[in-house]
């Protein structure tokens, strides 16, 4: 184990493990939020309440924050190092028609996701955890449904930001998904193309899934 995380491969291992964990979180996050579109929202409220109050999930929440923290810190360390490896660039460059745009711009995409994340936490998480958010009448349970649906019905530019962010996240994952498996060594000639296809499927599900929610509430207002 000695010194593994000081090596370039060790740092990538952290990117990959945290990335896989974050992708798993996204599945849970998307599934629960799609409950917004089901019925009158009471199901969603109960799910959100459960997620916020089950003690074990507070530990998971902590892990999630750690996951983000290490993913971002190591992304920065790796990117800064990689940028120093070619002091004099090429005069002319041509496309090889294989390399995808996201794969070359993971940090830019990640940074946009980070900016969105901050906004997103302010919009919902902070309100729910530290005040302001409405309650379901006569209960101790937040009316998260009302919070979210009224938010998306109010400001069109927030909806736009949420849609664009979902697309940028999808682009990050269209590369990140298969790249994470490749990094931990789970890839070979047979799986290369399969994993890349899965990556596109996963990325589209995430991007479309998170796009539907604001659009639905805008048109349902």
């Amino acid at each position: 184990m000695s010194g593994i995380f000081s090596s370039s491969l060790g740092k990538k291992l952290i990117m990959s493990i945290t990335g896989l964990f974050l992708m798993l979180f996204l599945v849970v996050h998307l599934t629960t939020n799609l409950l917004l579109l089901v019925g009158d929202g009471s199901l969603y409220n109960r799910a959100a309440h459960a997620l916020a109050t089950i003690p074990l999930l507070r530990i998971v929440e902590f892990l999630l924050a750690f996951g983000f923290f290490f993913h971002i810190v190591y992304a920065t360390i790796i990117t800064l190092k990689n940028q120093r490896t070619r002091p004099i660039g090429y005069n002319k460059t041509a496309s090889n028609r294989v390399t995808t745009w996201p794969s070359k711009n993971m940090y830019i995409l990640g940074f946009a996701i980070l900016a969105f994340l901050v906004l997103h936490l302010i919009n919902f998480f902070l309100k729910l955890r530290f005040g302001e958010a409405p309650y379901v009448e006569g209960t101790e349970m937040h009316n998260t449904y009302l919070l979210v649906s009224s938010f998306f019905a109010k400001y069109w530019w927030y909806n736009l930001i949420y849609v664009i962010s979902a697309v940028l996240l999808g682009l990050h994952l269209s590369h990140g998904f298969w790249s994470a498996f490749h990094t931990i060594g789970l890839n070979n000639n047979k799986w290369l193309n399969r994993l890349e296809s899965f990556a596109y499927v996963y990325a589209v599900i995430v991007a479309v899934g998170f796009t539907i929610i604001p659009i639905y509430f805008w048109f349902a207002r």
């Binding site: 184990m1 000695s2 593994i4 090596s7 370039s8 491969l9 060790g10 740092k11 990538k12 291992l13 790796i78 190092k81 990689n82 120093r84 490896t85 070619r86 002091p87 004099i88 660039g89 090429y90 005069n91 002319k92 460059t93 041509a94 090889n96 028609r97 294989v98 390399t99 995808t100 794969s103 070359k104 993971m106 590369h175 298969w178 790249s179 490749h182 990094t183 931990i184 060594g185 789970l186 890839n187 070979n188 000639n189 290369l192």
Partner: protein, 247 residues
């Protein structure tokens, strides 16, 4: 055919260097790219000018010394070819060809189009071999090797160490090169014995020499004249983590 050439000229490692433009009026499409440079050099010498320094040896795609960055891609736009295997028929009559050296902090320019690729040798010295006493060759069937492993090892062994992977990578990463060398040995029984030490040392050397990390952009694979697959990089990662975690 007629050609306009924009070629990087740099007196020595310390000089700044700049592009010079040259015109060739009557070259044959049958000429190889390197013959064309030889021809240009003979004209420069006749004029009393300094000929363009570029590396070459076998001129048949097996030694790996002829790496040039041509029209924006390593070894030119043809794909799966070394520079020495390019011919002028691969270019359009009257076109402009931009020729640059490999660019990477770990491959400093020595002169004109020549770069110092000792970094690859240092990586090989760190572990790209098997330690065995040389002697009479034993019977080839004494150590059975599964056919798929033999094939994969053979594919990996076709790496000629040209450095196009480093030149193409946005991070100047040497991962494809090292993955090929590690795979070639890790897949065969003789190489397994030192596999753990080898992978740790080669990766440590790569980091020490200033090559970047891998972002899995696949640019290396796209430019490799031997078509080495990035699946070898997945194997390199497996080998490395297994070796590190068993420490």
């Amino acid at each position: 055919m007629k050609l306009k050439l924009k070629i990087w000229r740099q007196k020595d490692a310390k000089s700044k260097g700049k592009f010079e433009t040259y015109y060739l009026d009557s070259v044959s499409p049958e000429m190889s790219f390197l013959e064309m440079l030889d021809y240009l050099n003979s004209q420069l010498i006749l004029k009393g000018e300094d000929p363009i320094a570029f590396e070459h040896d076998c001129r048949e795609g097996i030694c790996g010394s002829c790496g040039l960055y041509i029209n924006g891609r390593p070894h030119g736009l043809k794909g799966k070819t070394t520079t020495c295997e390019l011919h002028l028929r691969d270019f359009k009559d009257g076109c402009t060809i931009v020729v640059e050296p490999w660019r990477a902090a770990s491959f400093p320019v020595i002169k004109d189009l020549m770069v110092d690729r000792h970094a690859f040798e240092k990586i090989m010295q760190a572990g790209g071999f098997i330690s065995t006493n040389a002697g009479a060759a034993q019977d080839a069937n004494a150590i059975p090797v599964a056919k798929p492993n033999a094939d994969e090892a053979f594919d990996a062994a076709s790496c000629i160490g040209c450095g196009a992977c480093v030149a193409a990578c946005k991070n100047s990463s040497a991962m494809l090169f090292i993955a090929a060398k590690v795979s070639q040995l890790a897949l065969l029984p003789q190489g397994r014995i030192e596999a753990k030490e080898r992978v740790k040392r080669m990766v440590a050397k790569m980091d020490e020499l200033g090559f970047g990390g891998c972002t899995n952009t696949r640019a290396c694979e796209a430019e490799c004249p031997k078509g080495i697959s990035i699946s070898h990089i997945a194997r390199l990662n497996r080998e490395y983590y297994a070796a590190k975690f068993s420490d």
